[in-house]
Amino acid sequence: MTMAGVDLTWNIARDVNNLFAYHFMVNAFRAGTAVAVVAAVVGWFMVLREETFAGHTLSVVGFPGAAGAVWLGLSASLGFFAFCVTAALFIAALPRRTRRGFSEESAVIGTLQAFALACGLLFASLYAGFLNGVTALLFGNFLGITNGQVATLVITAAVCVVVVALVYRPLVFASVDPDVATARGIRARALSVLFLVVLGVAVAAAAQITGALLVFALLVVPAAAAQAVTARPAASLALAVGFGLAIAWIGLAIAYYSPYPVGFWISAVALAIYSAARLFARSPGRRPVPAGSRVA
């Protein structure tokens, strides 16, 4: 017996047909597709810019947003977006003195992150009887996605992708070498703020499917796998989107036929794709990826 009461058969056409028999599943695939595309595109830049830790913080901050919104009787979706974007602006205001791993900055972010989660716990405990809701907010839920939610996710995803497309060239330049980019007249600082806001929106969207804690499965893994396979920017960006879609679709399909939660399947598929990409990149006969480009 599975979640939807439908068992897997050996007839693949019928299985796929069964998959879309219910409206909630169609909505889950629509939302999953939009979210996978935007998370892969934005995540690709996040990995390139070495802002993985900031992305993690944003995902974590979504949780108190959603818990607080539910406590106040608003929609969790609104809470995710409001808190993620606010936190993105806050992080953008922090000084960014070195490109990576500056100890004090990561201590600030780590503390902020723990405090945000603690606030989520407070909101959840103030809203009595919400303990199971906590699990859904943190680890995802694909049941009961409404048409309105799908529309919101598709529109925000489209806006994010368009914004990134508009600033694609200067953003790549500023991400790879901010000093030279600034010298050439690119406003690296403004781009950085803009990107963090887009990252906030993308994280908020992804968190509504994967849960706040498993956002990385759609945000980091496609990009990391793609950048392990090829060092060319356009190709690896396209590959990242492909990986993202594969993770979301396969994860949702398996979750539909299995008794275990979607968060597990999405992250398991993500990990499998990442491992396969790393093995492929190391296989003999392939030119090694130039040092620095993988996490450049």
């Binding site: 791993g101 004090e104 780590g110 716990l121 959840a124 980091v220 999405i266 993500a270 990990l271 996490v295």
Partner: protein, 290 residues
């Protein structure tokens, strides 16, 4: 259980008989040792820019605990076993014991995914209190610690403190200038891995008090504040441990007095407040920060 304690506490007469309650004594005993260990370990975590690794280990602690519950054994076995194993793995895989953010991010997503799987197995098999185990592991249940659990936590916490102080000198050296340290014959790589193991033990410890999701605050917050306040290493270590213990005590007391505040929330609120104060105090700017 915790709620009943809290209700009893709220109707009690307040601060004076706080330590008369066994659950408060256990919380203070375990909490103090855990906070001191987190502060000391945290100082080096921040110094070595390994906050992200500590965070990854906290996620491992979550999955380890739920994995043990799913198998029907003591959650602490899973906590310590998984954290230490993964700490060694991160140390071996990562570049000289320091790790790559993308790899960590990917691995901990997988690890959390496993945690979710274990959670669903556990809740299916025990069919009782659904989200409670999850919430306890994620956010801690310091008021729910029994006397034996508190004693074990205190002993392990003291052990971590002693170990950190024992390797503090070479670790300072290796953290600040790995190349020179290894030229002088220090086993930099072994130190890095050994330190990550301590971080793993500390993560497993702190999970019992403030939960897997919040321990990074207890590790990074007081240490970050200490680094704002002084650039002398030994003083910094002391201040980090002191601030962590102070946050723990104030947080526990606040939650005792107001039963609607979860203790983990109060502790994190104090940590964040302490950090904000340390940032606001115009002080040490002598350190070259570039």
């Amino acid at each position: 259980m915790t709620l009943q304690h809290l209700a009893a506490a709220a109707t009690g007469s307040g601060l004076f008989d706080m330590l008369a309650h066994p659950f408060m004594r256990n919380a203070f005993l375990a909490g103090t040792a855990i906070a001191a260990a987190s502060g000391l370990v945290g100082y080096f975590v921040v110094l070595r820019s390994q906050v992200f690794s500590a965070d990854a280990l906290s996620h491992v602690a979550f999955s380890g605990a739920l994995g043990a519950l799913a198998l029907g054994i003591d959650a602490r076995a899973g906590l310590f076993g998984a954290s230490v194993l993964v700490a060694v793995a991160i140390g071996l895989l990562g570049n000289r014991g320091r790790s790559d953010d993308v790899v960590i991010g990917t691995v901990f997503t997988g690890v959390l995914g496993l945690g979710v799987l274990f959670l669903s197995i556990y809740t299916r098999s025990s069919s009782g209190s659904n989200g409670v185990a999850n919430v306890n592991v994620l956010f801690g249940s310091v008021f729910g610690l029994g006397a034996a659990q508190a004693a074990v936590a205190a002993v392990v916490g003291v052990g971590v403190c002693v170990a950190v102080i024992a390797i503090a000198r070479p670790l300072f050296f290796a953290s600040l200038d790995a190349a020179v340290a290894s030229a002088r014959g220090l086993p930099v790589r072994a130190l890095g891995i050994g330190f990550l193991v301590l971080v793993g033990v500390c993560a497993a410890e702190a999970t019992q008090a403030v939960g897997a999701l919040l321990l990074v605050g207890l590790v990074a917050g007081p240490a970050g504040a200490a680094q704002r306040l002084t650039d002398r290493p030994w003083a910094g270590l002391g201040i980090a441990a002191g601030l962590a213990v102070l946050s723990m005590w104030v947080g526990l007391t606040a939650s005792y007095l107001d039963g609607s505040l979860p203790p983990s929330f109060s502790i994190m609120a104090v940590v964040a407040g302490v950090y904000a104060l340390a940032v606001a105090i115009p002080g040490v700017t002598t350190r070259a920060r570039r």
